[in-house]
Amino acid sequence: MNQAAVIIDVQGLVKRFGPHTVVDGVSLTVRQGEVFGFLGPNGAGKTTTIRMLCGLLTPDGGSGTCLGFDVIRGSRQIKPQVGYMAQRFSLYEDLTVEENLNFIAAMYGVPQRRQAVAETAERLELEPYRQHLARNLSGGWKQRLALASCLIHRPKLLLLDEPTAGVDPKARREFWDRVHQLTAEGITALISTHYMDEAERCHRLAYIAAGRLLAEGTVEEVVERQGLTTWAVTGGDLHELTRRLQGLPGVEQVVAFGNSLHVSGRDAAALGRSIEPFRVAPHQWRQVATSLEEVFISLMSGEGGAS
């Protein structure tokens, strides 16, 4: 995969809105055919970064290329080859599915428009809804229409900003299958998300918080670099246990997962010593592999630092 062409290559992107630095020195490298996950809490600067990549916003600092064109001066060359999907449904609610697709195709100057619209509708199984107003579609179908409008001009790069927010699990799964299918054909996708299961379906990830890039790599790399040891506890009064564990040396986070508790820390020895007194019935302890979720909670709580 590393031999593939570099599609996004930016260094030190900065964006300020008034006194606030929303994106602060973000560098990204995304290669062709990758599904690149973009994660981070709300307000971390994910949307702003994506908007800079697709030419909606001009960066205040930094440099780099997107699809081989300069991100600052080349937005006119970049736009025709990018499919951007905003967080919010941003097609025309008062147009039909077909009218929306036709309009977007015309905006991109797609040749043989009628055919392209028909093909895209067919590909995304939108055909039964062609004459429906976008307003009347359910969340999952709206999202599918939005994806169709991103694909109609056969872009090389997809920038999808939380595309599955508010979409049911089945539709989400189908959406990700489709994205993988597209990247298998050579399209590159950068997707921001809050869902851990989605993050785990990405080839590579970047984690951003308060405008700064905190982690980058494959799922395994990101987990490994954080160096967390995690124990799972079941049984007994877990609320009481949480209260007593918090603040002990080596215990960096205690997170409830349904009927179990995940206790993690980077100093495995100190963590082991701290939990020793509680390893009695009715609690059952077992060491588990640290998941991405624990890593992100750790990063979000500011314990993580840069990897």
Binding site: G55, L57, K79, A86, R88, F89, S90, G109, S149
Partner: protein
Amino acid sequence: MRSSWFSPARLWAMVVKEFVQMRRDRLTFGMMIGIPLLQLIIFGYAINSDPKHLPTAVLVTEQSPFARRILAAMQTSDYFRVTTVARSEAQIERLLAEGRVQFVVSVPAEFSRRLVRGQRPQVLLEADATDPAAVGNAVFALGTLVNQALERDLAGPLVRLRAGPGPVEVIVHRRYNPEGLTQYNIVPGLMGVVLTMTMVVITSLAVTRERERGTMENLLTTPVRPLEVMLGKLLPYILVGYVQMALIVLAARYLFRVPEVGSLVLLFAVSLLFIAANLMVGITFSTVAQNQLQAVQMSFLFFLPSILLSGFMFPFRGMPDWAQTIGSALPLTHYLRLVRGILLKGNGLAQCWPELWPIALFMLVMMTVALKRYRQTID
């Protein structure tokens, strides 16, 4: 936590919430205060349905004490302000067509001789009656004015002339609108009012709606150029404007029987400039407004002075100078004169020019503002 059928605490919380929201929406809050103030000032100070000191031209072909006396009396009256001493009929025609004067008073040759002989000579008052409200009172005043002015001169052997219906006959010609019909004034004027209303509101909404719904964001990621977006939004509304004009022209012709003296082609041509000026106002508002409600409010704020200060509802010359200055900056003021000039007076392009360039200037200024603001909203 009880759910009684009426809870004062709940009611109070609701009221407090409404006030907090009202205060957050600065523009709406400002409009609540601003619009009544604006109306108060305009209705209270600016509007006067009995206009006075109307510009008047005089054409005197005879130098005589009697003629001088009449002119002096007019000067001192409230209604007339002699601005021009005309030398020819042609000059009079031009002054009236361009709307530079409201009245022309002509004292014919041999006036004194006929007066002395008791032949009741005529004084001719020609009024620009496109707006009947502007001329009504002045016309009634002139008859008494002239005869009273002469009373003092009719001494000695001329005293006999004081008896009877008065020594002088004042003939009134209501030009362009002989019967003084209000619809001759209102119906062409409505064209400008309707265009202002729809063009400003519709365009301010059209762009704001795209932003409010988030579709603008999607649009801007496509290769479409800002100019294409703007023109693409404006062209359909120019067509809408023409359809509205056509409707009003048809209604003017078949329902209200308003004369069409001038060229409709010229009317439609000069209207393009007016439509464009209003569209630019709409675009400018849309770049400022946060949502569609604000866009409508701003449009209303523009519409209100337009309709009140332009001379549509009340005679323009009845307003004090400051109000006339504001009115002169508004495109509707000039457009009303253009439409009435073309339809009622049969004005050609040359006579339209004094009203055309202010609209063009307004449009250029608005376009600069609109383009500048529009660019800022993208980033």
